[in-house]
């Protein structure tokens, strides 16, 4: 889907000092963010961090209390209709017409975008094909699976060929196939010049998309950069140990911290440090339940910056593991309790002691 380049030097999206309050609650505080043509930005943050508010502001559904927003140089506050022509929004909540067919859903949004007759059919096909909807066009949306409905929902945001695409948790609750299709399609769109703002609870998706990252925490952007930059500047590596009972006090040449019942040894080369850590356990080794080698990655960046883990996604299915994900979990115990944070290797002590 080719897009016209933005006027020279104008980013696809620019937020400067944007603040939004709901009564006495501050949803966004002095947020500045830029997205260039063809760039994918993974917008990360816990529930309530302000991701959806940010997208609603950009789409002109909300008005900021302070600050400036520009979509390719156009303010969605002062000229909402012109700004909306440039952007496509797929909100977090599924927004489709269940009694109608996929074709009717897509045709409606194509018609709203000003297309008629043959152009509607062509554009509908153009959007349906990469999302795997071609064979479903004449099926009622109510009869599709959740993942298929999510693809229809996303396709509806693309019919007017937006230059800026806002995807708010597009893979929440979807199957592996849908997740893979969506990720591949987002990469295609970005390669053709579309700027994409992609909020997600799955860090592996951000890594698979090779997206740059903006981390929101309590309404503020606390980190912004490429994945490599953030990992280099904020990514911690560590050895983490779980014990039955209270963790013991260890004497090691590296910083040791207790975090929510987990003993965390921050060390630059965690694999080399494991024998030293195990030796230092002494009698406490009997109570060791689990040992994890944590490599620097987005998860550790997030933990370092916010003090909280990011793996509590909206469902327990976990992200589709893409070949580009830098680390895979090695749950030797095979507990099957959902995803292990990217960048970690886990060993159950009882089976390896």
């Amino acid at each position: 889907m080719p897009t016209d380049p933005a006027p020279c030097g104008v980013p696809a999206l620019a937020l400067r000092g944007v603040t939004k309050r709901y009564g006495r609650t501050t949803a966004l505080e002095d947020v500045s963010l830029g997205i260039a043509d063809g760039e994918i930005v993974g917008l990360l943050g816990h529930n309530g961090a302000g991701k959806t508010t940010l997208m609603s502001l950009v789409a002109g559904l909300l008005r900021p209390d302070a600050g400036e927003i520009e979509v390719r140089g156009v303010s969605p506050v002062r000229d909402p209709r012109r700004a909306r022509r440039e952007l496509g929004l797929a909100p977090q909540e599924l927004g489709v017409y269940p009694p109608l067919t996929v074709r009717q859903n897509l045709a409606f949004f194509a018609e709203l975008a000003g297309l008629r007759g043959r152009d509607v059919r062509l554009r509908t096909g153009e959007v349906a094909e990469p999302l795997g909807l071609t064979a479903l066009l004449d099926r009622r949306v109510a009869r599709l699976s959740g993942g298929e409905q999510r693809r229809v929902h996303t396709a509806m945001a693309l019919l007017h060929r937006p230059r800026l695409l806002l995807l708010d948790e597009p893979t929440a609750g979807v199957d592996v196939e849908t997740r893979a299709r969506l990720l591949a399609f987002v990469r295609e769109l970005a390669a053709a010049g579309t700027a994409v703002c992609y909020s997600t609870h799955y860090l592996a998706e951000v890594e698979a998309l090779d997206a740059s990252v903006a981390i929101l925490d309590h309404g503020r952007v606390i980190a912004r950069g490429t994945l490599r930059e953030l990992v280099r500047s904020h990514g911690d590596s560590a050895v983490e140990l779980d014990f039955s009972g209270a963790p013991p006090a260890l004497r090691l040449p590296w910083p040791v911290a207790h975090e929510a019942g987990v003993l965390r040894v921050r060390v630059e080369r965690p694999h080399s440090a494991v024998p030293h850590v195990l030796a230092a356990l002494g009698e406490s080794a009997r109570r060791l339940v689990n040992l994890r080698v944590v490599q620097p990655g987005l998860e550790t960046v997030f933990l370092r910056l916010t003090g909280r883990r990011y793996t509590d996604g909206p469902d327990t299915a976990g992200p589709a593991r893409d070949g580009r994900a830098p680390e895979a979990d090695v749950g030797a115990g095979g507990s099957g309790d959902g995803p292990v944070p990217t960048g970690e290797r886990s060993i159950e002590a009882g089976r390896h002691g």
Binding site: S56, G60, L61, P91, G95, V96, P99, L100, F108, F109
Partner: protein, 260 residues
């Protein structure tokens, strides 16, 4: 209204049409219900009209327009549901984030209910003639002149309630209450001459009164277009007032709670 606004309104109208075609049963039932009730009430209406010295009355002269007007106002629910379901399906914010202005989103939702209301009136009157012996002694054009602004009133009552109500439960309750109130005060349930004393001074304050007055002028008195200009004009004024209420209170960004 340039820059493609008409095209977008047409797209919204087509979408409403598709949704209506997908499930027309509520409208079919609402069209059959007045005829069903009429079959029970005709003897009562006949007696009331004959007591009013209407010679040769079959009861259809009061019953058909009365039931038509009463059940037309039950369409207010349909108008409201069409707007609230956009919130229930989470499509309202998608529409707001699209190219259509809020005015277009509302305007596009008027046309199909308006057509439905006019068709419902026409079907009830036609069936009244075939099944219950309704004879229109006046001008059919005059009937249309009353029926179209009445249908517009019904649609705009629905839109005004959408603007004023936060939940679909509120809308449903108020729509049903208004339908019964309008039917009672307007003379749709009984001839206007049989209204209780307390109701008579209030009757001109509801659109159904003017609709019944216009229909009676055509059906019973053999009136033409000139005879219904006042009722039709008052109905237009009601529609304009309801439009003003809608424009004043409607906020596209207001969240509405649907059934879900």
């Amino acid at each position: 209204m340039g820059d493609g606004a008409l095209g977008r309104i047409a797209a919204l109208v087509r979408q409403d049409g598709r949704l209506l075609v997908r499930d027309p049963s509520p409208l079919i039932v609402r069209t059959v219900m007045p005829l069903l009730l009429m079959s029970f009430m005709q003897p009562l209406f006949r007696a009331a009209l004959r007591a009013d010295d209407v010679r040769g009355a079959t009861g259809a002269e009061q019953g058909v327009p009365g039931m038509a007007v009463m059940f037309l106002f039950f369409l207010v629910n349909i108008v409201g549901f069409a707007m609230f379901r956009e919130h229930g399906w989470h499509t309202w914010d998608r529409l707001r984030a699209g190219p259509a202005r809020p005015f277009e989103l509302v305007a596009g939702r008027l046309v199909v209910p308006l057509v439905v209301a006019v068709v419902q009136l026409a079907v009830v009157f036609a069936a009244g003639g075939l099944l219950f012996g309704l004879r229109v002694t006046g001008s059919y054009a005059a009937l249309v002149l009353v029926g179209v602004p009445l249908a517009l009133c019904v649609v705009m009552v629905g839109m005004a309630l959408v603007a004023l109500c936060r939940t679909i439960a509120q809308l449903s309750v108020f729509a049903n209450l208004l339908a019964l109130l309008f039917a009672g005060l307007g003379g749709a349930l009984t001839p206007r001459s049989a209204l209780p004393d307390w109701a008579r001074p209030l009757a001109p304050g509801v659109p159904s009164y003017w609709a019944m007055r216009g229909f009676s002028a055509v059906i019973l008195d053999g009136g033409g277009v000139g005879a219904v200009l006042l009722p039709a004009g008052v109905l237009c004024a009601f529609a304009a007032g309801l439009t003003a209420v809608t424009l004043f209170f409607f906020r596209a960004e207001h969240r509405k709670l649907s059934w879900s």
